[in-house]
Symmetry: C2
Subunit: 185 residues, 2 copies
Amino acid sequence: MPRARLSTAGVVEVALAVIDEQGLEQLTLAAVAARAGVATPSLYKHVASLAQLRSLVGVRVMEDMAEQLTLAVVGRSGDDAVASLMRASRAYVLRHPNRYAATPADPLHDPATQAAGYKLLQVFLAVLRAYRLDDSAAIHAIRCLRAIMHGFTSLEAAGGFGLPEGLDDTYEQLVQMFIASLPHP
Amino acid sequence: MPRARLSTAGVVEVALAVIDEQGLEQLTLAAVAARAGVATPSLYKHVASLAQLRSLVGVRVMEDMAEQLTLAVVGRSGDDAVASLMRASRAYVLRHPNRYAATPADPLHDPATQAAGYKLLQVFLAVLRAYRLDDSAAIHAIRCLRAIMHGFTSLEAAGGFGLPEGLDDTYEQLVQMFIASLPHP
DNA sequence: CAGCGAGGCTAATGGCGTTAGCCTTTTGGC
DNA sequence: GCCAAAAGGCTAACGCCATTAGCCTCGCTG
């Protein structure tokens, strides 16, 4: 294989850099090409379309998150694990404010993002396993958890809360609120 | 004023129709012009740019929501009012799944959307007033409320939850979770 | 060393936002 | 009633972007 200055993974990497620096809406094939030092149409040798690049970026971010979140919960269980998962999620979004917006809203509906979506879902399921919820209760609990985390982090990343003051406290309140809603023996 | 087939308000109205039918990302001056039976550049007589149209649409949606939410809470107070506000918010998003995504993430930072943002904020503040929270506690509570509602409704509107089955129950669980976190005498 | 294919390029097309400049219709003041 | 002014429409044109087609060349493989 000749002249492999670029690869699919490399293009995704450059795309992440563009997103980090300029935001999701500035993710453009032209911007990626410029940053990679390449003509725009050359990208099509590695990526089928802008839509596919977006999808690949989404997968990459979800895999990244799954890895980091897993690290945050290993060796913990119960309330401790739940709190740690929630804090780690927020921390990830704060570290890469623009990346979270690149994750698809419904990864499970698209074959291209399904696997990464399940990988992420598994982490959440694992953390709730200790509570021995029945199927229905587990579904409700995981939806609540996702809603709370998505709501807070996406508002925070978008600057949706007026002042950043005291946001740690607010989030901690949400963490405790959710934990309190879980069944404790 | 001559030949007023169109007006700023009219353009916004058409934009809402486009958003309702084709989604936020399809809100394009070309689409609005086509639907209004007018050439694209003609829109500039009523609207300064696509960005401004987006902003106007956001304002329009926030005002709409503020009105509907107000209707949902008048004559109620305490837990009753909170539950009603939360249910009405979700109902609005379900009725116009695409409109909610058109509201700016941080309306208070932009003079053009500030007023509508405060209008909406007032409804939430009013509902929490009965709990006599001190300033700090009120801020935390309102942030929690927004995070929960935004998280759930935006995920639901985007099809982020696998099956729509049992979503009413999940949301009700969130409503009770939040209410339980408020101080009760 | 020959050739073939991966990986780059330029040129061209179509959709979009936006600007400039023109033309007509309406209307407010005389 | 009339006339100027301007509101509100239009076409033409530009630049940016995604995408496609077709070419060229490097560098590995036989």
